[in-house]
Amino acid sequence: MAGRKNKRGIIGPITVLVSICLMASMLLAVTHQVTMHQIEQNRIEKEAMDMAAVMPEAESFSPAGELELMEGIKAIHIADNGAGYVITSEAKTSDGTITVMTALDQDGKVLRSRITEPSKAAFIQPPAGSALDKALKDCENLARIQFREIKDKLSSPVSRAVYRPETTRRAVIVTEVPRQTAAAYGKEVRV
């Protein structure tokens, strides 16, 4: 009898807690649905602004997908006018991870680099100058090493076909496509 009473006593609070959790989840799901596109749009705009700041010579960029990225490299973008590349990488500092964009010219020379996302801990205490400088240098070096690999792949005829600026708005770097299919592939990626 007492056990039944206890069960009833537990079921009520559990039901309320579960209901509140469900309502909170639904509210967050709806908010996520509503804000998702705007957040993505903001992210793209910020990325474009950061890339324009780090490489003002270029007017637009195309993402390089399907590449085996090294550890620490987040993304690679290619200037559509052939000005160079922007490599986004991460580096760890004593205060957390920072994200850095490095602009490289066609020969792999670092033009500029810039921190686009400070570490979360930087809100509390910005990292000391020397630690930040070291992290920036690490990112630049990483970008240079990654560039060497991209350069090799871009030097192949297939990749050159894929990367023609007028045809490659959504191009994908392809490294091991048979030579005879290069032209066909170039047509496929035309947008």
Partner: protein
Amino acid sequence: MPRKSKKQIFISGLIDENPLLVLILGICPAIMFSTSAVSGLRMGICTAIVLTCSNIIISALKRVIPEQVRIPCYITIIAAFVTLLQMLMQAYMPETYEALGGFLPYTIVNCLVLGRAEAFASRNSVSDSAVDGISMGIGYMLTITLASAVRELLGTGAVFGLPVLSNLITPMSIFVLAPGGFFVIGCLIAVLTKLAGSRIRADKAEDAADEGGQSL
């Protein structure tokens, strides 16, 4: 116990029941974020927004939430609200989100928010809880900003990034570290206790004089 008016609730949140200096709530984030005046102000703004909104929601649901599960319910509501605010800010106020984004998640575990939910919002009306949230939020924001400004001034010689005492004193970096935070907040508590103590004594003397006049 007589019910407080909204004005009394507002004043008590700022001075008599100042969350940081009197109730000693939210000390951890205060020590952590009060290294510079700007970060202190940002943390204060975040806490004020979350505190006000969570107070309103918890007060509105106080009859529905059972006693046994009130703390998990409050935490769920506060966490949901902070996440909601974070998403809305990220979408529609990206610049503000960039500035405040790192601080927002920390407000979930700020004991001030949970403390007011438990001590005030769960026992009072929605409007009173809203006033309490606003006053406590403003009180916390002002105090943490003041503590941050003092720490930044003594630790770096600047306030809000502007050099004020750079050439006059040698910056004492201990003030930017945790011990300096405890020291500054301790000094502020002492000053407020002194001021509030003399005010309470003056009020008591006034009451005694009134009673004496009436008896005569």
